[in-house]
């Protein structure tokens, strides 16, 4: 302690370095046991965590299925005529999978782990969302809003020009 320094706060955490420990451990705390089991316990813990992550990832991947069922029910309720409700449902059915697919990376971010195999859940997630999208498109088609008929492509086709021109009539 120098003469100029009255007090100091050290922010460095010394809790894990027993060598410079000069404060006693709180009562009931035994440092020895922790130090002993350190390596095995952490491995176990990590395994459990990755298992848990994998499980969670599968759960997340299956989530759109429920959504799919719900959407199907809503669509059935909306009927086959074009009106505000059915259009709203259909567009939300189209939008949800698209936005979900865009955020595939983000959805599985928390479960990212070197040991966790995320490809399976991701593929399932994508497949289910594509299924949702297909359902939306199918609905769009049943509403008649998809240009799948010849009529959709010729409805604004201008009349063909005629090569010949003829005029006349009753003499004036």
């Amino acid at each position: 302690m120098g003469s100029g320094r009255r007090w100091a706060v050290s922010f460095s955490d010394n809790s894990t370095s027993p060598s410079c420990r000069d404060i006693r451990d709180p009562p009931g705390f035994t440092r020895a046991s922790v130090d002993q089991d350190d390596s095995t316990a952490s491995r176990q813990k990590k395994d459990a965590e990755s298992n848990w992550k994998a499980q969670k990832a599968w759960e997340v991947a299956q989530a759109p299925f429920k959504n799919l069922l719900m959407m199907g029910f809503m669509m059935w309720m909306a009927g086959n005529t074009v009106h505000l409700f059915s259009i709203g449902i259909t567009f939300s059915a189209l939008w949800q999978p698209v936005s979900a697919l865009q955020g595939v990376g983000k959805v599985f971010e928390p479960y990212k782990d070197s040991k966790v195999e995320l490809l399976g859940p991701k593929l399932l997630f994508i497949a289910l969302n594509l299924g949702g999208l297909a359902l939306g498109v199918w609905k769009l088609n049943t509403l008649g809003l998809l240009p799948t008929h010849a009529s959709d492509w010729v409805s604004s086709l201008p009349p063909a020009q005629e090569v010949e021109y003829s005029g006349g009539g009753i003499p004036l």
């Binding site: 010729v154 604004s156 020009q161 010949e164 009539g169 003499p171 004036l172």
Partner: protein, 988 residues
């Protein structure tokens, strides 16, 4: 394209939604006059009788060439009442009886009617028959009475009738059955009960009958032979003297039949006027002691001075017109004389026995565009100082009617507009900068005031006066009568050609006359004696190139009624009304064919066919010629010869042979002809599509997303023939003898695409052709009802184009040019429906892009215009349409077409004497402009599928504005609140 087709169902849905919401198009009471206008006319005045009694309103009763009798207000020229008689009921004479009845004689003197003067109600009607056809005369003598009954004397159909003025009963009649007797005058001298009937017999005999007016007894019959015969009309110079011309037109005959003795006096015209050459004609007039003759361009007034002596009163080479005489007090007779002098007319009122003195002499400046004075009618009134004042009604060359009084034109009526021959339209000039500031400021105040009033109206705060003010503001909105083009294309010029040869430009906003021009080329001239205006064509419509040029129209006219008379072309600038140029053609004009090509200044090429079947190209420029030569082999023309039932198709050959080399003249050769058997068929109607019609698509989407391809061709002619026996009136033949055959003929190849026979049907036929369908109206003799039939044409050869991938990738040939020689396979669908009304004209709405659904505009016999959705005339209608068909908008089939009272376009108005309906597209796709003309004019805007592309007139702008303001305020307030809250959060 995908996007467009993607949206089409939405659009269609919207349309369907709207149309199902309100199937009829109708308007509210306060919307009348906002977009429509109506003008009433009477036509060229033939005869006028004044009714200026002390009591009651001063009025003049007129009969016109449009067969109208009308009572006009003398103060303003407004119509009190008006009746339009049928076209086969031509008015021969009018007069006023007992001061309270208007007496009219019509139908060649066989129908005599009496109308109540104040309100125009008919009082009685009498049919007058007679042994033979003759001239007819109507006299209403003031002093002839039979048993206290006032008498009307009518000479018609070779019989003299005395008819009671009270109930129209014939009191006595006297036949003039002599074979060759041609009546010239019926005279009733005042102060006696005698009636003189004078006329010619066997062309050289003068006959005079003296009849007792009380009982029709023949008192005396004298006749004298004059060897050299008579020419034309006679002029009455006193109650017992007439003047006639001999058959050479060079000797004047004064014929006096005083006391039943006929005496002749011959005076060669050369004695009176030494430079006389060529025949003269007598100008009909009835001024005592004076008559006028016309020789070459000189009018000579001749005085009769006792015992048949003649004396020239005045010679003039100005154009003149003279009125009949008007009895003043003390047995004096006055008449009016009008002479043209440059841009002025001189009006003189003289006493009959005193040529040199004038009671009145005035000069009035006259618009040159009104032409010459054709008729003069004089009337007098007593001034406060007991002297006579005169008012004069004049009828001008352009058929307008003017009242002159005290040297000024008191009022004028443009009655030429009652006889429109042809109509076309022109755009207005584009708005340019440079509106004066003062005007804007003035308008700003008005604008603010107007909006305040409107706001009051929408918030229901307006008092009744305010409401009236708002309504008048809406009606008089300066916006609609502006002289510039508008964004929606509602403001246009209607260019109309009238029978008088005058061209008018009417503004579509409020119907005012922008300019009028009496065509110089339609003026009588040395080479062109009686020019007749025929048709109007759009000559130059600048829109892409040549924006600086003014648009112009082509007026085609002809010298004289025969079809081989030489033609005259005039080109008129539609912005100013100036005649740009006029061409007197060496050839006749039998047909005018506007070609679908324009030159670099956007002048449309026109092909004129003359009576020798040579084709002449206009404009005569080398550029036009090169364009024409490029398309030469693809241009055809056809002629319909109604009288012998032949339709011929022609192609062009190079250069005219024979005459002087003219590179703009082409020979033609006949390609095909369709000959209808004259014993069983006679052509009564032909219709083609409008040249400028725009069709949006060639496909028709039907139920279940299926497609049918329309057969759309500009070169189709719809022809209707009837059995020759069935040409007469309806009901003149039995159903077995009458049939009607409809043809659709390709005018390039002469192929008959479709033919259908309606047994037991009869004309007249009215038809309209648009896109791929034609609708026609005829009478069904078996059902005793009118019918409307529709034929739709579909192209079967395209029907296989249903592969989506080919269409997506554009691997189809649906839009490639087609030749009519490739024999398209056409199938037709047709259906007929009963229709309640008989029809005067049929038209169809036309829009800018042809997307909007169509309405038929039917001019009914009641002179109204009815709008009928084309959906009602759909051959795919069935009694029980399937669900899909219902969704498509197909209406269940009914036997007759519904007439919904709200769908009358003319609402409560009538377009008297309706002759034609013209539709013009506005720039706004939903809207079409409709102009109906007859004796009256009517204009309105129509939106057959409602105005889906613009806000309606009654849209609540104030509410929108208030909402926006409230929203903006709310956003601002909440923003401030949230900001404050955030700050407080931070301080916590």
């Amino acid at each position: 394209m995908a996007i467009r087709s993607f949206f089409v169902p939405f659009l269609l849905f919207g349309l369907y939604f709207y149309s199902s919401l309100s199937p009829v198009l109708s308007l509210y009471e306060d919307q009348v006059g906002l977009m429509d206008w109506h003008q009433q006319y009477i036509g060229k005045v033939k005869q006028a009788v004044f009714s200026t009694q002390k009591t009651g309103r001063r009025r003049v009763i007129v009969s016109t060439e449009e067969n109208v009798i009308a009572s006009l207000d003398l103060r303003h020229g407004e119509i009190f009442w008006r009746h339009l008689l049928g076209s086969d009921d031509v008015i021969d004479g009018i007069d006023i009886g007992l001061g309270k009845y208007v007496i009219t004689l019509s139908s060649g003197g066989s129908i005599l009617r009496s109308w109540n003067l104040p309100d125009g109600q008919m009082v009685w009607e009498s049919y007058l028959q007679g042994p033979k056809h003759s001239k007819s005369f109507l006299l209403v003598p003031t002093n002839l009475k039979i048993e206290k009954d006032s008498v009307i004397v009518v000479f018609s159909n070779g019989r003299l009738h005395a008819v009671s003025c009270i109930d129209g009963e014939v009191l006595w009649k006297k036949d003039f059955e002599a074979e060759s007797f041609e009546v010239q005058q019926v005279i009733k001298p005042p102060g006696s009960d005698l009636i003189y009937v004078v006329g010619f017999a066997a062309s050289s005999q003068f006959e005079m009958y003296q009849i007792n007016g009380r009982n029709g007894e023949l008192l005396k019959h004298e006749s004298t032979t004059f060897s050299s015969g008579f020419l034309g009309e006679v002029s009455l110079v006193s109650s017992e003297t007439v003047v006639a011309l001999d058959s050479t037109g060079s000797i004047l005959l004064t014929i006096s039949f005083q006391n039943g003795e006929i005496s002749f006096q011959q005076t060669p015209i050369s004695n009176l006027y030494e430079h006389f050459s060529g025949p003269a004609i007598i100008i009909p007039s009835s001024v005592p002691g004076i008559f006028a003759i016309k020789t070459n361009a000189i009018t000579i007034f001749i005085r009769v001075i006792g015992e048949g002596m003649l004396e020239v009163a005045e010679k003039t080479n100005h154009e003149t017109a003279i009125s009949d005489s008007l009895p003043l007090s003390e047995g004096q007779q006055a008449f009016a004389l009008i002479q043209h002098a440059g841009s002025e007319i001189h009006l003189a009122v003289k006493l009959a026995h005193d040529w040199d003195g004038n009671l009145l002499k005035e000069s009035i400046k006259m618009n040159q565009q009104r032409g010459l004075v054709h008729k003069v009618f004089i009337n007098n009134y007593i001034r406060t100082d007991k002297s006579h004042g005169f008012r004069v009604l004049i009828v001008m060359e352009d058929h307008s009617l003017l009242l002159l009084q005290q040297g000024t034109i008191v009022w004028s009526r443009e009655d030429g507009l009652a006889s429109i021959i042809d109509v076309t339209t022109s755009e207005l000039p584009v708005e340019r900068d440079g509106v004066s500031v003062a005007k804007v400021e003035h308008n700003l105040f008005e604008w603010l005031k107007g909006h305040m009033l409107k706001l009051k109206g929408t918030l229901m705060l307006a008092s009744p006066e305010d409401v009236a003010l708002i309504q008048s503001m809406r009606l008089k909105s300066s916006e609609k009568s502006k002289m510039t083009r508008d964004h929606n294309g509602f403001r246009k010029l209607l260019i109309v050609l009238t029978r008088a040869g005058k061209l008018f430009a009417l503004h579509t906003g409020d119907g005012h006359i922008v300019w009028s021009h009496l065509l110089r080329s339609l003026h009588k001239s040395e080479p062109c004696q009686s020019p007749i205006g025929l048709n109007l064509y759009q000559w130059q419509v600048p829109h892409h190139h040549a924006m600086d040029e003014n648009p112009s129209v082509l007026v085609v006219s002809r010298c004289g009624p025969s079809s081989d008379a030489p033609g005259v072309l005039s080109f008129i600038d539609t912005y100013t009304g100036n005649e740009l140029s006029s061409l007197s053609l060496a050839h006749a004009v039998a047909q005018v064919i506007p070609l679908p090509y324009t030159d670099s200044t956007e002048q449309r090429l026109h092909l004129l066919i003359d009576s020798d079947k040579h084709a002449h190209l206009y404009p005569k420029t080398s550029e036009a010629l090169s364009i024409f030569k490029r398309e030469f082999s693809n241009i055809y023309w056809y002629s319909v010869e109604g009288h012998n039932g032949i339709i011929k198709g022609h192609a062009l050959k190079y250069e005219c042979t024979g005459k002087v080399a003219d590179e703009f003249c082409f020979d033609t050769r006949e390609l095909w002809s369709v000959v209808f058997p004259s014993e069983s068929e006679k052509i009564i109607a032909t219709v083609t599509r409008k040249l400028n019609e725009v069709v949006h698509t060639q496909a028709k989407v039907i139920a279940d997303q299926d497609v049918m391809y329309k057969y759309i061709s500009k070169n189709l002619l719809f022809v209707v023939t009837v059995a020759p026996k069935g040409c007469g009136e309806i009901g003149s033949v039995t159903p077995e003898e009458s049939w009607l055959v409809a043809y659709l003929i390709d005018t390039v190849t002469g192929r008959i695409l479709h033919r259908v026979t309606h047994h037991g049907a009869q004309g007249p036929v009215h038809a309209v052709f648009s896109e791929n369908w034609v609708v026609y109206h005829y009478f069904n003799l078996r059902a005793h009802r009118y019918e409307l039939s529709v034929i739709e044409l579909y192209d079967q050869s395209r029907a296989d184009n249903k592969d989506v991938w080919k269409l997506v990738l554009g691997k189809h040939n649906l839009t490639s040019p087609i030749s009519l020689f490739s024999r398209p396979e056409v199938i037709t669908k047709s259906q007929s429906y009963f229709f309640t009304h008989s029809v005067k004209a049929i038209a169809v709405t036309s829009t800018a892009k042809g997307i909007t659904s169509k309405q038929l505009l039917i001019g009914t016999i009641g002179d109204q215009v009815l709008a009928l959705d084309k959906r009602f005339l759909d051959p795919r209608r069935s009694v029980n349409p399937t669900q899909a068909e219902k969704e498509e908008g197909i209406i269940p089939l009914t036997d007759s077409l519904p007439i919904i009272p709200q769908s009358y376009v003319t609402h409560a108005l009538r377009v008297e004497g309706l002759r034609g309906i013209i539709t013009v597209p506005a720039k706004l796709e939903s809207t079409t402009l409709v102009f109906a003309h007859g004796v009256d004019l009517f204009f309105t805007q129509l939106a057959p599928s409602r105005t889906y592309d613009s806000l309606t007139e009654d849209f609540n702008y104030a509410l929108l504005l208030i909402t926006i303001v409230a929203l903006v305020a709310a956003i601002f307030v909440t923003w401030r609140l949230s900001e404050r809250k955030e700050l407080q959060e931070k301080w916590r």
